[in-house]
Subunit: 256 residues, 4 copies
């Protein structure tokens, strides 16, 4: 089974690029299932029902998110109705809207968020432990989108889940890392998938405003950059008998 996982899609340039390129990619790689991180689809920060629908229309099966998920609160409505397959990090505490995982076509997709340099939420390691424990069936694949900052925390989760899930795939830094690999017990791993967003940008945003932030210490308004877009993604090949990975491959494309 071939599962395509696409990193943080940035604003309108990212959504447009995805719509144009995703159908061809799925055909070319004979993709069975597609996961897209949508936390930056709405103007560069957050996600709305409309931008989530754009990703689904483009061909996503499931949408994961991250720290920006609550920027636009109306996303919670589609999560609670389950009218769109949008999930938020599983390790948000009890009482938070939405779900942290979804099962579709026998693929269990789990979203987790790191804590190092991020927010004070529940332990991602124990949150997924609890989820895996309560499963009373064996999914064909289990894909974890680990939305986190620190490379140490990302790799720690990878080794922790090695042999128990099909893949631990990092998102959030918006920069693709070179460390796609199979861990010793056949879990596919990458520290960060990277983004779908403007090439001449600082993690998606127009460079000048970001530079001003660093020069002044003032949290000024940022805006999504223009111009050619890059797409970063990975394809994980899963043996649906074992639920483990047999391969992971990077995809990089540029779109005008």
């Amino acid at each position: 089974m071939k599962i395509l996982v696409i990193g943080d899609v940035i604003g309108k340039p990212g959504r447009d690029a995805l719509r144009d390129i995703l159908p061809g990619l799925k055909q070319e790689y004979k993709i069975d299932f597609t996961i897209v991180n949508g936390e930056n689809t709405a103007g560069g920060i957050g996600i709305t029902p409309a931008t989530a629908q754009d990703l689904i229309s483009a061909g996503a099966d499931v949408i994961t998110t991250g720290n920006h998920v609550w920027k636009h609160r109306d996303i919670a409505t589609v999560m609670d109705e389950e009218s769109l397959p949008v999930i938020r990090p599983l390790n948000y505490p009890p009482g938070v809207p939405g779900q942290g995982y979804v099962l579709k076509d026998k693929v269990l997709v789990v979203n987790l968020m790191g804590r190092t340099f991020m927010y004070d939420i529940d332990c991602p390691f124990r949150s997924i432990d609890a989820l895996l424990c309560k499963l009373n069936f064996k999914p064909a694949a289990i894909i974890v989108d680990f939305h986190a900052e620190a490379t140490s925390e990302k790799m720690a989760l990878g080794f922790y889940l090695d042999g128990r899930v099909s893949a631990v795939l990092g998102t959030h830094t918006h920069v693709a890392t070179c460390d796609t690999r199979l861990l010793p017990k056949n879990t596919a791993y990458v520290s960060d998938i990277g983004m779908v967003g403007p090439i001449d940008s600082i993690i998606g945003d127009e460079p000048d405003a970001v530079i001003q932030r660093f020069l002044t210490g003032i949290p000024g308004r940022l805006s999504v950059a223009q111009g050619r877009v890059m797409l970063n993604a990975v394809v994980v090949t899963v043996n649906t008998k074992t639920g483990l990975a047999t391969g992971i491959e990077r995809i990089y494309r540029e779109i005008s």
Copy 2:
């Protein structure tokens, strides 16, 4: 001019691998100048005069460092004597031992450190501005090792210095990123070079102890992992007339 820049070298496994592989690499790529980040050479954290000497003996021309530079204080002695070409981040405040840059063979090597999620030191952007302003000659190349955590800060420095230095090369996360590129005005850039250290590790350390830290919240002792080592590096090609880059290329090797 071809400049080889090698990311954080981890402990004895990293030093040994470097000694074995560097002479061949330099020959193969016709390297004119070699820079190595040594902040993790001494037992995985910090650098000593002895481990710095190991890197020089292996073929390094200049050694850069980062946030762990003061773990073993005796490194300050070789810095202040300039008996070894070891530098520390330039944006440490006045009064701190050592230098933040060194000129050797007409190559100006500058070490900077980020502040996001790191320490409260001087502004890296203005620190290098001040250095570039006071230069009363034109180096053949200017290479910046930007030791930082956040991808936004790294890229912001890249765009900020674009056209003014030969390369802005990230270190510190120990994970190689895929974004080697020439910025619009011909400064070579990568968010992180990646490390020289054990493959089956969490950023160089033995995985079980790192996982325990995340599970318990207790800052337990870590140790450098064993086994096969990977080397991550980049080669920057510089036009010494303009001082700008004409290319940047990744190198990845595994050593038993």
Copy 3:
């Protein structure tokens, strides 16, 4: 000379209480000069020209601020025109609007901001060193509002400036501390003056929403609490010949 310094004034309840109580306080304590921290006057976060004018009308001579100063950007206009005596932390980098100090009636008021757990701006210690160095006259008093989180950083600045300024007075935590004292060389010190805001609140805000933030990890909207207001302030007595303090006294009042 008696200088009254009042901590962070919270929203409309804080402004109203100040207007009602300040004239009487000034008379009672024979106050010569009044400084008020206004960073929370506008709806609990930030300051506007209108809320700054409210503080002046209530009797403030100078208004200091802190990390929330840029929440409403139009405050920059009155700072740059100097139409109102509003200052922002001195250790913002060059190029930032406004001034970090003001001289009025021979009293030099300086605003500084801490970096620990806060923003990446310039060193507060060296920023005030530079200011003190360039003074070509001796003010009657020098009062520093140090807007900072960590008690260690606040006290470190106190000891650092001991004997060089009249007072180092902390703001930002909104909680009054018991450590009003004269440091060994006669600088008056307190870790935090405390706020002017609703008593039944969490640092000024309505408790339920703050509790929800901690329970959910979601950065929800806060609102200024209602009900009786407390005023926290200190009176520093300065010997204008030496420019050093001879006393510091706390004031605590409740207003219906």
Copy 4:
């Protein structure tokens, strides 16, 4: 019932002062039960079986700790044997040595730690909820030592537990706050009790070394300061029928 709660005791000067003053204090205030925070008793950071024994010998009934508890690992042995009544924050994850609460003489003492600007451990709010839920008897008093940095988190826990515990008392900043009060539903509260340590110090440490840390950004070695010691404590009066507080009073003493 009168319960004396004493903040972070700093090194030998703090232990010596406590031994000299505690017996008299207990007599003077007719204290029934004494709790002491011991996380800084061993050389200024951490606690050992020997320094814990010193506090017990001085008259403590229960010892609480905080973020420095694991600095000297042998403290875990006395915790697990329960040979000394030393507890650590309850919201450390499962598997961590020791206990987060202790019942003695019908007084339930609970230690919690904040997360804001601190460590990634379990939610303190839900941790104590779970503990209170599983109690199958009514203690005469429940005293919470909340070891935390941010005033907002401390107050939030106070309001959250108001009416459910006898007292929520902050420790960790080493600076006493003025906000001792009864919350609306009769839980006693203070943001920080303050320390038992040298007066001319920066939160217990010799000032020059702390100032150097801020000036250089280098994490240099600190040492406990010398000279006269201050003691900060609170006395909480509890109605053992309701388990709620009827009063809270500050104690401040200086010892040569």
